[in-house]
C-alpha cells in the first residue's frame, strides 16, 4: 500500500499518518506506546502565552522533557492520581494540516485539534492549534516537539487528567 495521499508530498503524508496514530494512542490512553513515539531530547509543550516561542523563559501549562514525560506518565498510570483514575473519556479530531517545513529528514506541520472530553454527564471542549515537529529516523518517525496552543489558554481551564 502506498503511503502517498493524492497530491500530498510523501513526507507530509507520512507525518499525517503519524499524527493520526498519535491521536488514537492518546484517546486510548496508551501512554506507554505514546512515550515510544518520542526522541529523547524532544519537548511536549502546552504554552499559556499565545505568542511565545521561548517556552523555557515563560510559564507553561506543561513543558515536558523526557524526564517530565516519564514521570507524568507514571503519575497518570499509577492508579493513585484520582484525576487520572477518573479521567474524562476523550475523542479528538486532528485535521487542517499545513506544512511549515518538509524534507526527507524532518517535517514540521501545523494542524487543528478539536478534542471532546466526557466526564460526569458533561462534554468539555479542548480546542487548539498543534505544531508537530517529526524527525524521520532509522527507527521510523519520531516526535521532536509537539506544541499545543489552546484557543483559551489565557482563560480558565478545567483540570485535566489526560494528555492533549
Amino acid at each position: 500500500m502506498s503511503e502517498n495521499l493524492q497530491g500530498i508530498p510523501e513526507p507530509m503524508a507520512k507525518a499525517i499518518a503519524f499524527i493520526w496514530k498519535e491521536a488514537e494512542l492518546l484517546d486510548r490512553k496508551d501512554y506507554a506506546a505514546w512515550q515510544d513515539l518520542w526522541i529523547d531530547d524532544g519537548f511536549y509543550v502546552v504554552p499559556i502565552d499565545p505568542e511565545t516561542t521561548d517556552f523555557a523563559a515563560t510559564l507553561n501549562y506543561a513543558y515536558d522533557n523526557a524526564h517530565m514525560r516519564k514521570i507524568r506518565i507514571e503519575r497518570l498510570t499509577s492508579g493513585y492520581a484520582m484525576s487520572a483514575v477518573d479521567a474524562a473519556t476523550t475523542v479528538r479530531t486532528v485535521s487542517r494540516f499545513v506544512p511549515v517545513h518538509l524534507s526527507a529528514e524532518l517535517v514540521e506541520i501545523t494542524s487543528a485539534q478539536v478534542l471532546v472530553g466526557y466526564k460526569r454527564q458533561q462534554h468539555t471542549l479542548f480546542v487548539g492549534n498543534l505544531t508537530h515537529r517529526i524527525r524521520f529516523t532509522p527507527q521510523g518517525p519520531k516526535l521532536e516537539q509537539k506544541v499545543i496552543r489552546l484557543v483559551n489558554s489565557m482563560d480558565s481551564l478545567n483540570a485535566l487528567g489526560f494528555l492533549l
Binding site: L59, E74, Y80, A81, S83, M154, D155, A159, L160
Partner: protein
C-alpha cells in the same frame, strides 16, 4: 470518653450565622444559592479583597483587570504612580471599558459611545456633548473608585469606603507576609505568570484546602512519588511536631509545612542544598559568593508555609493562590508564579519549572485537588442534616500568648478561623 458530636441541622428559622456551629458546618454553605448571594454582599463587597501584586503594574499606565465577586474592576497605576482600583463599568450605559487581561494605556474608552476616562477614573470626554448641556456634569461621572490598600506589594481593594485600615485587617498576618517575601533572597518579588483553572464547587472548599495539611500525602501521593527524595522528605510534615497551624485573627491563618524555611534569613548551615539544584549552584557560583548562592537556592521552593488570607488569597509557599467565586457551585482559581525581580534568570526559570510541576490544570497536584473538591461539592448534596466536620485537632489546640490558636498543621484550626470570620461577617 469521646465528646458527642453536637450539630443542630438547619431549620426555616436558622440565620446564616447559625449554620456555622462549634467546629461543624452546615452543608448548605456549599450548595444554597441564597447563601452565595448573601456572601457576595456581606463578605466580598464588604471586606478587603486581593486584586494584584505591585509588580504586575510597575509603570504609569500599566493595568490589569480583576473581579471582586461578580464585579469587574481595573487595577491601574496612574501618571503620578498612585494605584487606583476602578469599577470596570461605563457611567453611561454600563458597558465594560476594558476587556484586556493586562496592558498599558493612557486611559479607558467605552466602545459603545466613546465616553473616555483617565487613569484616575475621571470622565475626560464624551462625543457630541450638546445633548448633555445642563443635563450632566462630567465631574459627577467618574469610573467609581474603590478603597485601595497595599502591604508588602500585595494590593487589596474594598467597595466599603469606610472599611478599617488594611494594616488592621491583616493584623498578625503582616508578620507572615514579611516572612513570605524573604524568598526573594534580597531581590523584590515579581509575578512570573499564572495558571487559571475552574472547578465545579463552592469557593469555601478551596479556602479550606490551603490550610488542609491532612490531605497532602493522600491526594498528592503521585506528586510526592514524582519528585526527588529530598523534596519529598522536605514535605513530610505529617508527624513533625514543629509543623503547626496558627489562627491569626480576622479569618487568616498560617500552616507551617517546612519549619526550617519559615524565616529564610535564618540558616544554621546544617541544611544540605538539594542535589536537584546542583546545575544552578554551579552556575551561580561563577559570579556570586557562596552565602548568596545558598540564600537563593534555599528559597527556590518558597517560604515554608501557607498563609491563608480571608477571603480570597493565599500566599502558598512559592506562589499566590487566588480564588474567585463564580456561582454557588463554581470557582475559578489562579496560581500566580513568583520570581526574583532582577534575580538570576537560571533560578527564576527553575521556579517556573517547579510551579509547572505541581500547579495548574495540567500540573501533578492541582488536578487531583480539583477532583477532590468536585467530589466534596457532589457529595455534600447528600445528607442535608449531616454536618461538614472541621473539628480535627480540637483535642490538642492551645492558645499562644498573643491570642493565636495553635495546633498541628494537619489540624483544622485554620478552617475554624476562616469560618469564625464568615460567621461574624454573615451575621452583620
Amino acid at each position: 470518653m469521646n465528646a458527642p458530636l453536637r450539630f443542630h441541622p438547619r431549620t426555616p428559622d436558622s440565620s446564616y450565622a447559625d449554620l456555622v456551629q462549634d467546629a461543624v458546618v452546615d452543608p448548605s454553605l456549599y450548595t444554597d444559592p441564597a447563601i452565595f448571594e448573601a456572601e457576595m454582599d456581606k463578605i466580598f463587597y464588604k471586606t478587603w479583597v486581593w486584586v494584584g501584586h505591585e509588580s504586575e503594574i510597575r509603570n504609569p499606565g500599566d493595568f490589569k483587570t480583576a473581579q471582586i465577586g461578580r464585579q469587574p474592576v481595573i487595577v491601574v497605576r496612574d501618571k503620578g504612580g498612585k494605584i487606583n482600583v476602578l469599577e470596570n463599568r461605563c457611567r453611561h450605559r454600563g458597558a465594560t471599558v476594558c476587556e484586556k487581561h493586562k496592558g498599558n494605556a493612557t486611559g479607558f474608552t467605552c466602545p459603545y459611545h466613546s465616553w473616555s476616562y483617565g487613569l484616575d477614573g475621571k470622565l475626560r470626554g464624551l462625543p457630541y456633548p450638546e445633548g448633555y448641556e445642563d443635563v450632566v456634569e462630567k465631574a459627577d461621572l467618574p469610573l467609581q473608585s474603590l478603597r485601595v490598600g497595599a502591604y508588602g506589594g500585595m494590593i487589596f481593594a474594598s467597595f466599603k469606603q469606610d472599611i478599617e485600615p488594611l494594616e488592621d485587617f491583616l493584623g498578625h498576618a503582616r508578620h507572615w507576609i514579611d516572612l513570605f517575601m524573604k524568598q526573594g533572597a534580597g531581590f523584590p518579588i515579581k509575578v512570573q505568570g499564572e495558571h487559571k483553572f475552574s472547578f465545579k464547587g463552592n469557593w469555601k472548599i478551596q479556602l479550606e484546602n490551603t490550610t488542609d495539611g491532612y490531605h497532602f500525602p493522600v491526594v498528592h501521593k503521585t506528586f510526592l512519588s514524582s519528585v526527588d527524595a529530598e523534596t519529598s522528605e522536605m514535605l513530610s510534615f505529617m508527624t513533625d511536631d514543629q509543623s503547626i497551624t496558627r489562627s491569626l485573627g480576622n479569618g487568616h491563618s498560617v500552616m507551617i509545612m517546612v519549619p526550617e524555611h519559615v524565616d529564610l534569613d535564618v540558616d544554621d548551615g546544617s541544611e544540605q542544598l538539594q542535589e536537584r539544584f546542583s546545575h544552578i549552584i554551579d552556575e551561580l557560583s561563577k559570579t556570586m559568593p557562596p552565602e548568596q548562592v545558598r540564600r537563593i537556592v534555599r528559597s527556590l521552593h518558597g517560604a515554608g508555609f501557607n498563609l491563608n488570607l480571608f477571603p480570597n488569597v493565599a500566599m502558598s509557599m512559592s506562589f499566590f493562590r487566588v480564588l474567585h467565586p463564580v456561582s454557588v457551585s463554581e470557582t475559578q482559581i489562579r496560581h500566580v508564579a513568583l520570581g526574583m525581580d532582577g534575580g538570576p534568570e537560571i533560578a527564576n526559570r527553575e521556579r517556573l519549572r517547579i510551579h509547572e510541576h505541581f500547579q495548574g490544570p495540567f500540573g501533578f497536584g492541582s488536578p487531583d485537588d480539583a477532583e477532590a473538591w468536585e467530589r466534596v461539592q457532589a457529595g455534600s448534596n447528600a445528607g442535608r442534616n449531616v454536618p461538614i466536620l472541621v473539628n480535627r485537632g480540637l483535642n490538642r489546640e492551645w492558645v499562644d500568648d498573643n491570642g493565636d490558636k495553635v495546633s498541628h498543621s494537619t489540624d483544622e484550626t485554620g478552617m475554624r478561623e476562616a469560618y469564625a470570620q464568615w460567621k461574624k461577617m454573615m451575621e452583620q
